[in-house]
Amino acid sequence: MKVYTEKVIEHFRHPHNMGKLRDYSAVGKVGNIICGDVMWLYIKVDKDPKGRDIISDISWETFGCTAAIATSSMISEIAKGKTLKEAIAITNKNVADELDGLPPIKMHCSALAADALNEAIYEYLTQNQQEIPDALKRRHERIAKEMASLEERYQAFFTKGQVANEAKSVSREEYTPD
């Protein structure tokens, strides 16, 4: 049914930049445990010698399948060291291409990774009261809308209250890589 490329397997087995940054500037949280994919992407933003905002460090925490973990790893590699302007331009296609492709049914995982990066940058710019590029804003609105409709759809599907509550109450501890 589905075949992962060598590169997907390699990133899944040896993921890069995993865990939570000790000192991050912003975090992008996307996905929903109800759907089986959740990605939290942390970025640290600093100035480069030319005074531009760059992603000086990046990390992630992901609950998801092989493809979700590999795309988390890959997007962190692509975005690391990029200026925010360059990072905004990273698409899900870039992520999938760098992994030598994903099975069609798993393409949404690469979308999740690109969305997480978008949300992290959006949060950073908002917090620092910087101007938000139109494209970034539009994507943010699309992501927020999708998350809301997903939750609605699944709450309607799984009428049992316990499912919805349980998804919210999954305990969360701070994780600090050594």
Partner: protein
């Protein structure tokens, strides 16, 4: 390939050496068509009829009550659609929420053709409610189809009680016995239709049978030369049938010894997995098949877990949405009320007659490490 530890015997099993040896002559030497009059044909016919008699004896039924098929999907379809089409005045079928898709989808197919289907709920362990079954039976109920043992969680249904209810109410009872056959004793006296597949019991793929009691009228699905007493046309798969019969005999011969070992492994697996924080056992603790263990791990996703174990040479499966073509979690886990995040983190471990204590040791050594590794990269941490 390095040595693999195969713990996915509910998916399929390796063909036993004895079974392969029994089948081998029927490819190049005794290749005759069992319907032919000549010596080659007679040899094939004899092999098939001996196999049929062996299986019938194991079940305590008459040989004419065994219909060979291409496997359990066909056997289940023949049972359900065959009985429905033998009663063209339409009617009602009862099944359960946790049946294999070969049963559920056959019932849904009938639903689209004017038949009515009642799908019974199951409790948190996966068992149906006998009172609900009694209430569901109507004047026009043609068939009750309830599996013997579930393929994902291993839960056994109260088959004896179900068959008694069906008998009292004059309704035919079909059971998908793919996982249970050769693992537990089945009360075949009171079962009207029973489906079995060879490849789940160390036989070859592509062959199975449907036990059909004499009183049950079936309309065939496959039309042609009138093989299998007109119930299933198509030249008999001689090597397959010989392999099925050999696998069946082997399973019954070794049943006590093999299932005792499987039960021991199962107890060890459950105890060790329970010791890992944030886990739950899916299915019934005691009324359960000996070879299937289904558990869920909080904070991790099943497909990643299967892939991580595979990296260590261990082969298992999951009911996670990410592993299914529809991206929906297993209908069985949802039906027994496993919280959805835990359904995503499910793992099925199923042992076979070849599974050793050493295999279980290695698996239990690697599993906690892999779970730890995946939890370390998950945003959801397990509270101690």
């Amino acid at each position: 390939m390095d040595k693999r530890i195969y713990l996915d015997n509910s998916a399929t099993t390796p063909v036993a050496a004895e079974v392969l040896a029994a089948m081998t002559p029927y490819f190049c030497e005794a290749y005759g068509n069992a319907s032919s009059l000549h010596a080659s044909g007679r040899v094939a016919r004899q092999a098939i009829e001996e196999g049929r008699a062996e299986i019938a004896a194991a079940l305590g039924v008459s040989p004419s009550e065994i219909v060979f098929t291409s496997g359990a999907t066909e056997a289940n379809n023949l049972a359900i659609i065959g009985i429905a089409f033998a009663h063209r005045d339409k009617g009602h079928v009862i099944t359960s929420k946790i049946e294999h898709h070969a049963v559920l989808h056959a019932c849904q197919w009938l639903e689209g053709r004017g038949y009515e289907v009642t799908t019974l709920d199951v409790d948190a362990t996966g068992q149906i409610d006998l009172e609900q079954l009694k209430d569901a039976i109507r004047e026009d109920t043609l068939l009750v189809s309830i599996m013997a043992g579930n393929n994902e969680i291993g839960t056994l249904q109260p088959i004896e009680e179900i068959s008694t209810i069906c008998r009292e109410r004059g309704v035919a009872f079909h059971t998908d016995a793919v996982q249970a056959y050769g693992k537990i004793q089945l009360p075949t006296d009171s079962i009207d239709l029973l489906a079995v597949s060879a490849h789940k019991l160390h036989g070859p793929k592509g062959v199975g049978f449907l036990m059909v009691r004499k009183a049950v009228a079936l309309t065939p699905l496959l039309h042609g030369g009138g093989h299998e007493g007109g119930r299933r046309s198509g030249t008999e798969n001689t090597p397959g049938i010989v392999g099925l019969a050999a696998a069946s005999s082997l399973a019954f011969k070794e049943m006590e010894e093999t299932t005792a070992r499987m039960r021991r492994f199962k107890r060890r697996l459950i105890a060790a997995i329970n010791a890992i924080p944030g886990t739950r056992l899916n299915g019934h603790e005691t009324d359960s098949l000996p070879h299937i263990v289904n558990v869920s791990f909080q904070g991790i996703e099943g497909e990643s877990l299967v892939m991580k174990l595979d990296e260590h040479g261990i082969e298992t499966s999951t009911g996670s949405a990410c592993s299914s073509p529809t991206l929906e979690p297993s209908h069985v886990l949802l039906a027994i009320g496993v919280p959805i995040s835990m359904a995503h983190g499910s793992l099925r471990i199923s042992t076979g007659r070849q599974t050793t204590e050493q295999d279980v040791d290695t698996f239990l050594d690697i599993l906690p490490r892999v779970v730890e590794e995946l939890r370390a990269i998950s945003p959801f941490k397990v509270g101690e």
